[in-house]
Amino acid sequence: MPVETKPVALSNETEKNSCIAALHARAGLSGPVIAALGLFSLVVPLLPGEFPTIVGVEILILSLFAGSFNLIYGYMGQMSFGQGAFFGLGAYATALLCRWYQAGSTDIGYMQFFLALLLAIPVSALGALVVGFFLVRLTGIYFSILSMAFGELLFYIVFSWYSFTGGDDGIQGIYPPALLRDPHYYYYFTLAIVAVATFLLWRISRSPFGYTLRMLRDNQRRTAFVGVNIRWAMLLNFVLAGTFAGVAGALWGPFQRSVSPTLLGWMQSGSPVFMTLIGGADFFAGPFVGALIYTVLNAYVTRFTVFWPLTIGTIILIIVLFFPGGILSIIDGRLSRNRGSRDS
C-alpha cells in the first residue's frame, strides 16, 4: 500500500478553528456569498444576448450532475468514473418519450413533457441499482475500474442498439413545449428544478445517512462494526447519486434539442470528476463552484481552440499537483493542504 498520509498536527489556534468548522459540516461558501450567487442566478437571463443564458443553463445542469457525483466521491470516498452512464440514461429516457409523444412533429404538451422528464427518475435509478448491485461489493481501485467498465458497457449498448436509440446518430429534434423553447424560460425552469434538487442534496449531506457516508469514507470496517449494513448503505447512495445524475441528464436533451451516445461516454463521466476537483470535494459547494468555472472556461476556450481536452487536462494536472483541495480550500486558506481535516 502507498505511504499513508498522516494528518498534519495542527497548531493550537488552527486546530480550534478547524474543529469548529468540522463540527458544523461546511458548505464551503459563506452565507452572504451564497445569497449573492443566488441573486445573480436570478438575473442571468437579463444579461445582454443569449449566450450567458445558454451557458447558464449548462452550468445549472452540470452542477447538479457534479453534485450527484460528489455524493459518491466527497462523501462516500469512492471514485466513480462511470457517472455519465446515469446522466445519459436520464437523457435518453426523456428524449425517447419526447420523441414518442411528438410522433414526428415538433409539438409536445406540457403534461407530456413533464412526464418525459419524470421518466428519467425511475430509469436512471433502476440503471444505478443494477450497476450498483455489483459495484458496491468493491472499494478503492476496483470500484473505479468497474465503474468505468460499466460506463463503457452502457455506452456501447446505446451506441450499437441502432433501432431503439438511433446508435451513433443519437436522437435529433427533441423539443420542449412552446414557452420553454425560449432559453430564458428554460433557464428559469431549470433553475427551479436544480434548486430543489440541490436543496435535497444538501439535506442528505447533513442527515444521519450523510454521516453514514462519511463513516464509509473514513473507515468501512468500523462502519460495519457500529451496526451499519455497508453494502446497503453504498447501494442506496449509488442509486441516489445515479438518480440525481439522471434528472440532470433529463434536462439536457430538450435544451440541446438532441441526445447522443457521448452523453454516456468516458469524457462525460470525467467532467463531474473534474468539476468537483476544481471546486473542492471537501465542500458541499465544491462541485457547484467547479461546474461554474469548468463550464465558463469551456465556453470561452472552445471559442478560440478545438483543443479543450488539452486545456482542461493541463488545468487538472496543475490542480492535482499544487492545489489538491480545489479552489474552495484555497479560499478557505487555513485548511488548505491539510487533508486530515476535510469537511466531515
Partner: protein, 297 residues
C-alpha cells in the same frame, strides 16, 4: 470457400495476435500497479503515442533511405527507446509527486494525462488514421489465406513475454522489482532505494506498450479514441489475471484475446459483453484476480 477448420485456425491466430497486444500493454499496467500502486489510466494513451512516434520514424526513414519494409525494425526500436525516455520523464516530473496522495487524486493525475496525450496526438498528427503498408502477400495456409505478418506479431509477443519473464526471474534488477511487488518494506530494509526503481519500471512499462503499438502498425491502423477501447480491455485483463502477476496477465490476455476474436464469428458485438461478464464475475468472486494474491483493503 474456406473450411470450418481453416476459419477456426485463422480466428485462432488473429485471437492470438490480439492477445499478444493485450498482454504487452497490460503487463506494463500490471507491473506499474504492482510496484508503485499507481493505476496508470494513461497507459493505452502512451501506447497510442508510441504508435504514432514509430509511424513518423518509419516515414522519416523511408524518406531518407527509400521505401523498404525492413525500415520498420529500426523505427520500432527507436520508437521504443523514445517512449522509454518519455515514460521516465513522466514518472520523474509528474507521477513521483503523487505517491503520498490518496488514491482518488492519484487516479485523477493519470486520467488527466489521457486528455493531454490524446489532444497532443491530435495537434501533431491530425485526426486521420495512420497505418503502414508492408508489401506482404497473404499466404495460403490451412485451406485459407492468412497474413504471414500475424506470425511475426505472435512471435514478438511470445518473445517479449519470455524476455520479461527472464528479466523478472533471472536478473538482479528484475528480482528487486518482483520483491517490491511483494513487499516494499522488505526491499527498503535491504537498503535498496525504492524510488530509484520506480522510474525504471514505469518507463519499461511504457516502452513495452510502445513496442507493441509499433509491431501492430502494419496490420492495425491507429487512430484517436483507440486508447480508450484498449485501456478498458487492459483493465479487464489485469483484473482477471490479478494485479502484479505477469503469469496471470498472460493467461488473461489469451482468454480475452481469443474469446474476442471468436465471438466476432458467432455474435458480432458480443465480444465486449463476454469480456465484461468475465470481468464482473472475477471482480465479485476474486477481486484479486485469478493469479493475484489476496489483499485485504
Amino acid at each position: 470457400m474456406p473450411s470450418d477448420l481453416s476459419s477456426f485456425l485463422i480466428q485462432l491466430f488473429s485471437g492470438l495476435s490480439r492477445a499478444m497486444m493485450l498482454f504487452l500493454v497490460a503487463s506494463g499496467l500490471s507491473l506499474i500497479f504492482g510496484v508503485m500502486n499507481i493505476l496508470n489510466f494513461a497507459h493505452a494513451s502512451l501506447w497510442l503515442l508510441g504508435g504514432y512516434v514509430t509511424f513518423s520514424l518509419y516515414q522519416a526513414f523511408s524518406i531518407g533511405f527509400g521505401q523498404h519494409g525492413f525500415l520498420l525494425i529500426p523505427a520500432i526500436l527507436l520508437g521504443t527507446v523514445c517512449m522509454f525516455g518519455i515514460g521516465w520523464l513522466i514518472e520523474r516530473v509528474l507521477i513521483r509527486r503523487t505517491y503520498a496522495y490518496e488514491l482518488p487524486e492519484q487516479l485523477l493525475l493519470t486520467f488527466a494525462m489521457i486528455l493531454i496525450i490524446g489532444d497532443l496526438i491530435k495537434l501533431i498528427w491530425g485526426v486521420q488514421n495512420r497505418r503502414i503498408f508492408l508489401p506482404i502477400e497473404p499466404i495460403e495456409a490451412f485451406g485459407g489465406f492468412i497474413n504471414p505478418y500475424l506470425f511475426i506479431v505472435i512471435g514478438c509477443g511470445f518473445g517479449i513475454a519470455a524476455a520479461l519473464w527472464f528479466f523478472l526471474h533471472r536478473t538482479r534488477y528484475g528480482k528487486i522489482v518482483r520483491a517490491a511487488v511483494h513487499s516494499r518494506e522488505m526491499v527498503s530494509a535491504l537498503g535498496i532505494r525504492i524510488p530509484a526503481i520506480y522510474a525504471g519500471v514505469y518507463a519499461m512499462g511504457v516502452a513495452i506498450a510502445a513496442f507493441s503499438a509499433g509491431v501492430f502498425l502494419p496490420i492495425m491502423p491507429i487512430g484517436l479514441g483507440l486508447d480508450m477501447d484498449l485501456i478498458v480491455q487492459c483493465f479487464a485483463v489485469v483484473v482477471i489475471g490479478g494485479f502484479g502477476s505477469i503469469l496471470g496477465t498472460f493467461v488473461a490476455s489469451l482468454i480475452v484475446g481469443i474469446l474476442y476474436s471468436f465471438s466476432v464469428l458467432i455474435w458480432p458485438g458480443g465480444a465486449l459483453a463476454i469480456i465484461f461478464l468475465i470481468l464482473v464475475t472475477v471482480l465479485i468472486i476474486r477481486p484479486w484476480g485469478l493469479f493475484g494474491t489476496e489483499m485485504r483493503f
